[in-house]
């Protein structure tokens, strides 16, 4: 509290500063998440010798669970006492924010479980991994709670900067560093654009506080206010970058591919959750009156994301790149709910985020273990025969992929159904039709992986000719120019030839072996699949949850 004393002392002419009341409950999950990170970093530097990966995981899992419990407690509180704005208007304490806290906390929990096995396998000694992941998660949670553009920006930066470092975490892979650098540079660029957007909005409305902006817009008829609209556009660009919507998506295939697999899962889940939460809050609640100005833009971005995501994923050989485009496609779907900007649309988007979080983290959990030592086995061919070797793992993966494709009796189906229904509700028929068509196209590439898993090793011709070509070309094609820049540094040749020796081509010799699935990863996969199936069959509770979260929206 020394800061407060200092503030009082330096107060102008001894005038007393009325510091705002701090409602600790409203930021409790964020505090726990950040506190866990600080605790872990402290503990790990004090007890470096005795602390292994396991104890770091233990602390992280404990923190995530504590966060989840706090968020559930908050939920109870919000339901009984109603939503409010706390800490001088910086924080919105409502069902919507609590929903995001819960989603992110669960994402953190699952990621910690997956990362444990990954770090041990890759021989990466690093409590810092968990520290950064927790801080990143706290940033996403902050974005969900933020009630002020400045706070949103800070949340965005906390989320992003930690992710930049996490992307670079596997120093044994050149791609990892490359991914981080690309992500960082483009992220900084988009952040600059975002801040510029905030500045313009501030200039046009006189406040960065969301309710005050809404208040200003409702009291002043601001027909054709160019600066405000420019600000809106730039904010959309910033959000569009984070959620990887077309045309701000270019970073995501490279970054998804290069980042360590558990990080990719975390990135996909929490960056989307945080950015969409802020996007929904800013645009639906604050700029709701300017709906006519931004809805067409979201409409266009949604269509581009749906189409580009689905089609580009079709021609990918690397499963992580494919998942990147798939996540672009998913972003398009969630944008359907944003575009609707109705209660139904917002609750559909929230439901989608929740369902997607489980699906994508589960998927990347499987990708992590199948990639084997070195995190390199990401080609479709690496999945050949998985159904035979490890039927349960293959079944889990198939379920998760089919769920992403929107198969009935999974959460993925209802997620797609609800956003499309929300779009139909506001008569965006074209959008709904394109969304469904893109889902049909997307189903193809998900099924391609499933087919690969259940086809024998070395079988050629059951997949598209692209794969046949890839098989012929052998390992060099892993770094083939058409498939974008894996290891494209000056030492290109060295990397490529090394990959022949160490990473190995995805041919029978390596692919025949069983992959080891660590116990904690099994738990994470089990949780993801379980959620996806159980709440696919019994969707009621989660749908109600998302709906209630929307109703408690400030």
């Amino acid at each position: 509290m020394s800061t407060l004393l200092f503030a009082a002392a330096s107060g102008a002419y001894g005038a007393k500063i009325h510091t705002p009341h701090i409602d600790y409950l409203s930021i409790l999950p964020i505090l726990i998440m950040m506190g866990g990170a600080v605790l872990l970093v402290t503990a790990s530097s004090l007890f470096r010798q005795v602390m292994g990966v396991g104890s770091a995981t233990f602390i992280t899992v404990g923190t995530a669970i504590a966060t989840l419990v706090a968020a559930l407690f908050q939920w109870d509180h919000v339901v009984t006492h109603g939503a409010k704005v706390t800490i001088a208007g910086s924080i919105a304490y409502d069902g919507f924010s609590v929903f995001i806290q819960i989603v992110v906390a669960i994402a953190m929990l699952l990621t910690a479980l997956i990362a444990d096995g990954y770090l041990k396998r890759e021989g990466i000694d690093g409590p810092e991994f968990h520290v950064l992941a927790m801080l990143s998660a706290s940033g996403a949670m902050l974005m969900g709670s933020a009630n002020d553009l400045i706070v949103i920006f800070l949340g965005l930066e906390i989320l992003s900067i930690a992710l930049y470092v996490l992307a670079a975490f596997n120093h044994k892979r050149a791609e990892s560093g490359e991914a981080a650098l690309k992500y960082f540079v483009l992220g900084a660029f988009s952040s600059a654009v975002f801040v510029y957007g905030i500045a313009l909005v501030y200039g046009a409305t006189g406040s960065s506080n969301l309710p005050q902006i809404a208040d200003y817009l409702s009291k002043n008829v601001v027909a054709s206010n160019g600066v405000l609209l420019a600000g809106l556009a730039l904010l959309l660009v910033g959000f569009g970058f984070k959620i990887a919507a077309v045309p701000f998506h270019m970073w995501s295939p490279d970054v998804y591919q290069g980042s360590p697999s558990p990080v990719t899962g975390l990135m996909a889940a929490i960056a989307k959750a945080g950015a969409f939460a802020a996007l929904l809050r800013v645009f639906v609640s604050s700029f709701g009156t300017l709906r006519a100005d931004w809805q067409p833009i979201v409409w266009g971005i949604a269509i581009l994301s749906l189409v580009v995501g689905a089609f580009a994923a079709l021609v990918q050989k690397d499963i992580k790149r494919m998942m990147a485009y798939s996540s672009i496609n998913h972003a398009g779907f969630i944008l359907l709910g944003v575009q609707a900007a109705t209660v139904r649309g917002v609750s559909a988007s929230l439901y989608y985020l929740f369902a997607y979080m489980f699906m994508v983290i589960g998927t990347f959990a499987v990708i992590t273990v199948v990639a084997r030592d070195g995190d390199s086995g990401h080609q479709l061919t690496d999945y050949r025969g998985l159904g035979k070797r490890q039927p349960l793992l293959a079944l889990a993966f198939a379920v998760l992929l089919l769920a992403q494709a929107g198969a009935p009796f999974t959460t993925g189906f209802l997620a797609k159904f609800t956003v499309v229904a929300a779009a139909v509700d506001i008569h965006s028929y074209a959008l709904a039709v394109i969304a469904m068509a893109s889902a049909a196209v997307a189903a193809f590439f998900y099924l391609r992986v499933v087919v690969a898993m259940y086809s024998p090793v070395g079988a050629v011709g059951d997949l598209s000719d692209l794969d046949a070509g890839e098989l012929d070309a052998g390992p060099i094609s892993v770094a083939s120019p058409a498939n974008a820049p894996v290891s494209v540094h000056g030492q290109n040749d060295a990397v490529a030839s090394l990959s022949v020796l160490t990473e190995g081509p995805p041919t029978s010799a390596v692919a025949d072996r069983m992959v080891r699935v660590p116990g904690l990863t099994t738990v994470a996969i089990g949780l993801s699949v379980g959620f996806t199936i159980v709440f696919g069959i019994i969707p009621g509770p989660i749908v109600d949850f998302a709906h209630q979260a929307t109703l408690l929206f400030t």
Binding site: S190, N225, L229, I297, P485
Partner: protein
């Protein structure tokens, strides 16, 4: 225990999950035992629920358990709900009870099979699906079960899929059932359109608003589903082929439970059927015709399981006839009794087949009563029961149906009584050939072996001496024999406990035993008994002495009235020609062109998108700027030119 109703479904489902996860590890015979225990537990819970339901007082004893909101989208609120009333309870009791027995039997029967755990996995899934079908409180939940049992039936018929006939039979069963499913789903759509709900209670409360023509349409569409599932004319041929499945499957699915799903569905929607006399008449006629046609076919079959299969079709015809006549209670009575004796007969035949080392040809059996006494005695009880010899259960159940047929229209009764005669005859023929006469299984070549036995899959030759089966197989036989013998008690035990009284409140529009006086019923019953005895006498008399009587086995009947050929001619061959046309002209020229075009377009689009992905950060940033410029351009249209 009423609130534990969900357990009835959950237990077999858990059994299924256990089999999926650990089936291989449990192996033979533990996997079978585990599966049996789960189904047995389900039966015990059912009994508990039954007694609780008995204790419920009121006009209609019923209990609805809403598990969760299944499809909570806007105005469409579909609950996953269970509905327990005397009708569904009766079904649940005999489905779980008989399933448990047949699971037990299968432990012995499937011993040594390569896919032993898989068999029990399917079986448990089947039981769960069947219970979902029975307990669903709306058409959609019922449909889930309906599809589930159809799928399990397909998987189990084609269980020995390496045998081509089995694979084909599975496919046939599946396709016939799909036709029926289309009818079912169309009926459900029509209902939803007219009522706005799929809940039975809501539908029945609004029967008056639907309009007679619509009700008739719904009933007839449902009848399409029923005809496929319960093997009625014209969709019955799949059932005989379904005998390719393991015998316990035939007993459980294709005799006792799944095929009665259609009958159950008709009973469930009785208020609709009651509101549409036209539909009821059509149902009655289809039932009567099926009963008769199938009985005639059964007289000329040589495969022991095919005789039983056609007999099942015939008995199902009786049930449908009873429903058409408005006597739902009689249909339910026959359904339960039939489940006992037909389950018994199938298991008995399985025991015979097992004892003869997979021989199914009646002409290669004979005199088995000496070698398999328990099987003989129990099978004999089943035989006399289905023949309608008093005082066994079949006599009471069939008599009930015939009395009501008489009440509805004497013509229906005439067909029914003649069918009863045929039933007694062909069952006696079967028993005569199998258990009496010469030890023909010693012969090298079957007597009168003919071409209609495509499933005579092993070379003819002497068969090792038959042996009696183990206790896991004979115990279910004995239990079912007792039930088949004493099942008639259900009809008249006490005024309060009779089956008819118990289920009667469910059927608001029942015409059961409305018109006939007691003396008429006495006369009719006596006639039934006489006919049964005559049939048995003729059957035994003819077939014990000689196994080879081609004059009595018309090709017309052997070939099932050429139903398969007729289907082939009117659907199969034109269909094949259409398919040929499609594949050569439409597929090659039109679709392939379009698909190739689309594929190429997709690939080219994907490739183009991939080329955009250069890998250069500054290039990516450029795209962001493109986006910014585009957004600004749009915003300009909103300000300058707005």
């Amino acid at each position: 225990m009423l609130h534990l109703t969900y357990l009835i479904i959950l237990l077999p489902l858990v059994g299924f999950a256990v089999q999926v996860l650990f089936g291989r590890r449990l192996g033979d015979p533990v996997a079978g035992a585990v599966a049996t225990i789960f189904v047995g537990a389900s039966f015990i819970v059912s009994v508990g629920v039954f007694f609780d339901l008995l204790a419920v007082h009121g006009a209609v004893r019923s209990f609805t358990q809403n598990l969760w909101t299944w499809i909570p989208v806007g105005g469409m609120q579909i609950h996953a709900g269970l509905y327990v009333d005397p009708l569904s309870m009766t079904m649940v009791l005999f489905v779980t009870g008989i399933s448990a027995l047949i699971h037990l039997y299968s432990i012995g029967y499937m011993k040594g099979d390569r896919d032993y755990p898989k068999f029990f996995l399917y079986l448990n899934l089947f039981v769960a699906s069947m219970l979902i079908l029975v307990l669903g409180n709306n058409l959609l939940v019922t449909y889930v079960g309906w599809e589930g049992v159809g799928t399990c039936s397909y998987l189990l018929v084609a269980f020995w899929f390496t045998r081509e006939t089995a694979a084909v039979a599975g496919k046939k069963a599946f396709i016939y059932n799909r036709i029926g499913d289309a009818g079912f789903i169309a009926a459900a759509f029509l209902t939803f359109d007219k009522v706005g709900s799929l809940d039975y209670s809501v539908i029945f409360a609004n029967v008056g608003k639907i309009g007679t023509a619509n009700i008739t349409a719904i009933c007839l569409l449902l009848m399409v589903g029923v005809a496929a599932k319960s093997a009625q004319i014209p969709l019955f041929p799949w059932l005989a082929d379904a005998m390719e499945g393991p015998t316990p499957v035939s007993a459980l699915i294709h005799a006792a439970t799944m095929v009665t799903a259609g009958v159950y569905l008709l009973c469930r929607v009785n208020p609709l059927l009651h509101a549409s006399p036209d539909a009821a008449w059509i149902v009655a006629l289809i039932g009567a015709a099926t009963a008769f046609v199938a009985a005639t076919i059964a007289c000329a079959q040589n495969d022991i399981k095919k005789v039983l299969a056609y007999s099942t079709v015939s008995q199902l015809g009786y049930m449908v006839l009873a429903i058409g006549a408005g006597a739902y209670e009689a249909a339910i009575f026959l359904m339960v009794a039939h489940a006992f004796f037909k389950g018994l007969l199938f298991l008995g035949s399985g025991s015979v087949i097992h004892g003869l080392h997979d021989e199914q040809d009646l002409k290669r059996m004979g005199n088995l009563r000496v070698y398999m006494p328990i099987t003989f005695v129990t099978f004999g009880i089943g035989w006399l029961a289905i023949a309608g010899v008093p005082p066994l259960s079949g006599f009471w159940a069939k008599g009930d149906v015939l009395d009501n047929a008489w009440a509805a229209h004497p013509a229906l009764w005439v067909v029914g009584i003649f069918t009863a005669l045929l039933t007694a005859y062909y069952m006696s023929r079967l028993s005569g050939l199998a258990f009496f006469g010469q030890d023909r299984w010693k012969n090298k070549v079957a007597v009168g072996a003919d071409a209609d036995m495509p499933d005579a899959h092993h070379a003819a030759g002497p068969i090792p001496e038959p042996h009696e089966s183990k206790w896991v197989m004979t115990l279910p036989l004995i239990v079912l024999a007792v039930l088949a013998a004493a099942g008639g008690v259900m009809a008249f035990a006490t005024p309060h406990l009779s089956l008819a009284r118990w289920v009667d409140p469910v059927f608001s529009g029942s015409l059961y035993n409305d018109h006939e006086t007691t003396s008429t019923i006495w006369k009719l019953s006596t006639l039934d008994a006489v006919v049964a005895v005559i049939g048995v006498f003729i059957g035994l008399r003819l077939w014990i002495t000689r196994a080879d009587r081609p004059k009595l086995e018309w090709a017309f009947l052997r070939q099932s009235w050429y139903f398969n050929e007729i289907f082939d001619a009117i659907i199969g061959r034109p269909g094949a020609r259409l398919a040929q046309f499609t594949s050569t002209v439409i597929e090659d020229k039109v679709i392939d062109g379009a698909v190739d075009g689309t594929g190429a377009l997709v690939r080219r689009t994907g490739m183009a998108l991939r080329r955009v992905q250069t890998g250069y950060v500054r290039n990516y940033a450029l795209w962001i700027v493109v986006g910014i410029v585009a957004l600004f351009a749009f915003m300009l249209t909103r300000t300058w030119w707005a």
